[in-house]
Subunit: 247 residues, 2 copies
DNA sequence: AGAATCTATTCCGCATTGTGGAATGAAAGC
DNA sequence: GCTTTCATTCCACAATGCGGAATAGATTCT
């Protein structure tokens, strides 16, 4: 709605693209389609606020410290994380695969915690990464346990075709009933993700933990093992979040 | 320079204040001195970009997910952190106090990692917190090892009185020579911080690790012990960052 | 060394954008 | 049912931000 803010965010988003770390004013202008004088004026303003940094020597622009400052501040406040970490760590050891904690934010979930697989072959999605809520085992188990009204709103945006949406809601019902969701190569081809929801003391979903494994060496038995472990871990976290004392 | 961006950041900074988590539009207007219609227009725009979230039910505003998304993304890129963590963890066990890793950003340093003291009495500064570069043992050991030109620029801003500045530079020279910096209650009254610099493969300071202890139960002997341990840990991290293989 | 070709950075007249006071609407308290 | 307290919308006005073009500075080519 406010032009300068939109444009500022265009520049910020460009700077945050993974492919490239350093951008020149001219490159930013090219990428965003904005006049270079405009890019210049806006970056100056953003620099004032710490949202963008300019490397003096090379004139390159980068994201500024403010993102880390406020991002970490928000991050620290999440006490779900503190409870989750030890459980996830044990889970990672038991299953020998990479495990994740995701929390929903709007139409996406954010990867909040990741414990890497102790094995050599790792599948690594980054902490901070955002994944649309209809993609992946973890997210499906989040959606499956959200209030219907919210789910409707989210799906209308993410799944435009009505028929698909109805299909998807049937899947969610099953995910809710079973207590876990599975995705086959939805986010990353060749991998399977198993997610299970985490609830707070009010019984509301606050997020989901998940395990991501390579599809090629999966057997039925291993699958059952993973599901059981992930489900147990999610249950334990939920219990701890609701204040119960488990042995 | 750009009014709407300045105002947007005023609102963001207000939202990020620790005292209060949730703000109404009217409260934001009061706090920032902006007309309420302006607050409204700007927050709407910020919501579009995920910089601010509005709790539907209560109309309260909070910081949006974008800060976490980009903040964590930047955070993940810091490989100093990966190298540092295990060393810091061992250090925390050995000294039984809270230890920190700080990285400089502009005129401040940011707390990037914290390993809590295993003891009951903890001194806890938050991850993400920003501390002016002339405050504290860690920051002094960073400043002491920066290029003179940069130090001059930073000190002109942080220490306005010329005489004090000259005094401070003498202290920095000593910190550089000794390899560690000490501060007595500079950031938190009643505590002592001992910091030691961390260097990359080029021999440039990338940050500092530090230990923060309560002043009242400190003896000369303990002090020597802490200094030695912090110094050793910093050395080890620097070696690892420069690619050397230590036993 | 001088010309040519880049970029970053600044300038400034113009009009689009953002402004903010006031009106509306909706909800809570008396 | 009247008053207060908010959020939200409206709109005439002009300040703010716009962007093409000029400048300055750096680098490469002849």
């Amino acid at each position: 709605m406010i032009q300068s803010i939109n444009r500022a965010m265009q520049i910020i988003e460009t700077l945050s693209q993974n492919e490239k770390e350093q951008w020149l004013a001219s490159e930013l202008a090219e990428e965003t389609g904005l006049p270079i004088s405009t890019v210049y004026r806006i970056t100056q303003s953003l620099i004032q606020h710490g949202l963008v940094t300019q490397i003096e020597a090379t004139k390159h622009y980068e994201l500024g410290y403010k993102w880390m400052e406020l991002g970490l501040k928000m991050f620290e406040k999440l006490d779900v994380r503190d409870v989750t970490r030890p459980v996830l760590e044990r889970l990672a050891l038991e299953v020998e695969e990479t495990v994740y904690l995701n929390l929903p934010r709007g139409f996406h979930s954010i990867i909040i915690e990741r414990i890497d697989s102790p094995r050599n072959v790792k599948i690594l999605d980054s902490i901070g990464e955002r994944i649309p809520l209809h993609i992946g085992g973890a997210n499906k188990s989040i959606l499956a346990n959200m209030p219907h009204k919210e789910v409707e709103e989210i799906l209308e945006r993410l799944v435009p075709v009505k028929l698909e949406r109805e299909e998807f809601k049937k899947e969610l019902a099953s995910v809710k009933q079973k207590g876990y969701g599975i995705s086959y190569g939805e986010k990353t081809k060749g991998t399977i993700a198993i997610g299970s929801p985490v609830f707070d003391f009010d019984g509301r979903v606050v997020g989901a933990i998940s395990i991501e494994v390579l599809a090629y060496d999966i057997t039925d038995e291993r699958m059952r093992f993973f599901i059981e472990k992930v489900y147990e871990a999610a249950q334990q976290i939920s219990s701890e979040l609701s204040g119960a004392q488990l042995g």
